[in-house]
């Protein structure tokens, strides 16, 4: 097996952390690269000694979120100073862990860890997470539902998109959004690597529509702008224009920031936009 490049390794480790958590209820507190091996292209744990087991979603508490956050910090430590690699870790982790992963990154944000660490230090202290979901009794069934969704991202399937379309019809709308997010991340990974601009433009259009629907104006605005920058079809361009006109909830001041970051790599850009949506 050819050794994956740094970003791909970071992504796989992120997915792996999410996989351990969601399918096995396991948290590796010391996620240094030395403690993880690659077998047949799939990460495996080399050091079981300190693994923590939690029964999800029943045993989910604020302290469990804190422990998962610490585990993710130990994972991103492997890519200290690299915004790009850390954005791949995040994308991988969120793709597999859905809402739980977003909660972990919100907790991380409240502890000073956000995309603003890398791009715009002046924004770092603007605000903390808005805490969209505050009641555990609301969260646990949704996470329980997510755990039941059959997702095997470590063995990426070509028909992932189709399978998720079927799933979306029967799950809670919020999980539907996170599932769509997973599809977007995996598609961007596939088509971004292949350099397929046309396909990427379609994904961008899909992201901005979905973001608008789920009340994420900066994500919608950012990806709509991306659509406009692509040499794309008239349909994609008009989706971009339409979505931009609908992003009234995003302020001009922060839209200007978004414009500054449009050339960044997809997972970096996505992280910044979500930080705007969650914390501004």
């Amino acid at each position: 097996m050819k050794k994956p490049n740094k970003n791909m390794e970071a992504f796989l480790l992120g997915v792996f952390a999410g996989e351990l958590l969601i399918s096995k209820g396991c948290i590796q507190p010391d996620f240094q690269v030395e403690n993880v091996g690659i077998r047949n292209g799939i990460p495996v744990l080399m050091d079981y000694a300190d693994i923590i087991g939690v029964e999800l979603p029943a045993a989910l508490t604020r302290d469990v979120i804190r422990i998962i956050k610490e585990s993710i910090f130990s994972l991103v430590d492997n890519y200290e100073g690299s915004f790009e690699a850390q954005s791949y870790v995040r994308a991988g982790f969120l793709a597999r862990s859905g809402m739980l992963g977003h909660m972990v990154y919100e907790d991380a944000r409240d502890n000073g860890y956000s995309s603003f660490l890398f791009v715009e230090k002046s924004l770092r202290n603007t605000a903390h997470s808005l805490g969209r979901i505050t009641k555990w009794e609301d969260v646990k069934p949704l996470i329980g539902e997510w755990i039941e969704i059959p997702l095997d991202l470590l063995n990426v399937q070509s028909d992932l998109e189709l399978k998720q379309e079927k799933e979306k019809k029967i799950i809670h709308p919020l999980n539907g959004y996170y599932l769509q997010n997973t599809v977007h991340i995996m598609s961007l990974l596939d088509h971004g690597i292949l350099g397929d601009e046309k396909k990427c433009a379609q994904i961008y259009a899909d992201i901005c529509i979905s973001a608008l629907r789920y009340g994420m104006p900066y994500m919608a605005y950012g990806y709509a702008q991306k659509c406009l920058t692509m040499a794309s079809t008239n349909e994609i361009l008009s989706i971009g224009e339409l979505v931009i006109n609908e992003t009234h909830d995003a302020t001009r001041e922060y839209k200007d920031y978004v414009d500054k970051f449009i050339e960044l790599e997809d997972f970096q850009f996505m992280w910044i936009l979500e930080d705007f949506d969650i914390s501004i």
């Binding site: 507190p29 240094q32 860890y113």
Partner: protein, 276 residues
Amino acid sequence: MNELVLATYIKVLQGGFARENSQESAARLILEAITNQEEANCTCDLSSKKVSNIINRKDPVPEDIVIASADQKIINGVYKYFTEVILKALNPNLACDVYEKLFDLIKDDSTISTVKKNDLATLYYKKEYDHYLAEIFLYVLGKNNKKNSKSIIQRPKRLLYKSSILSDDGAIEQIYKTFNRITKIDDISVNGKYVLEGSFSFDSFYDNDGARSIRVKTIFGGLVICGDTSLDNWISRSYVNNVTKVKSITCIAWLEVLEKSEDEMMVHYFAIGDGL
């Protein structure tokens, strides 16, 4: 004799008294500043043995004296007593030595806050010696006079964290020797340096420079003690990653108080070791 408590205060004044030059008589003369005041309602036993135990730091300052010393009327009486009795009891040829010895003790005692040190220094330089001696007396009544056997600082089995301020092993030895164990909240003052053993929790956060740091917290007598440490100064990253997963572990910490409010205290950790 580098800690200013009631025992050391009595010993210094005893050396300067013209007549009351036994430890017991010196102690009585000084403590009568409070016990002779009717409103102080002091009923404590001041037998020879008790006085001897106070001077040898086997006993704390009697509680009724401590309580009375916080009453403004009693305080005014103490000032008066020091002007009329104590100052006159000092041998005029030795009095200056007494003032200076106390001043040196104050300067060298790391448990005394800078504010208090400055207040006492002002009285010393202004030569308001009656007020100076009375203020020190009232201050030492509030300090823990009893020497706790545990106040002999022990070395940790393993040093887990070392602040970058500590340049070498000699500097670490120095903190082991000089930092005082916290026995009660009232002992704690800003800029004081202490050693504290207890249950500590560890949490990561990213500081203003974007570096992962570790916030170390404990609770002592209802007061949250909190300080930030640099990840790189810990024994290893694996160690930190593994301690952050547990709620708390027993540690011994050498710290300096930076800020103190009613319910929280910000500290700088010099060193943290395995609990004993």
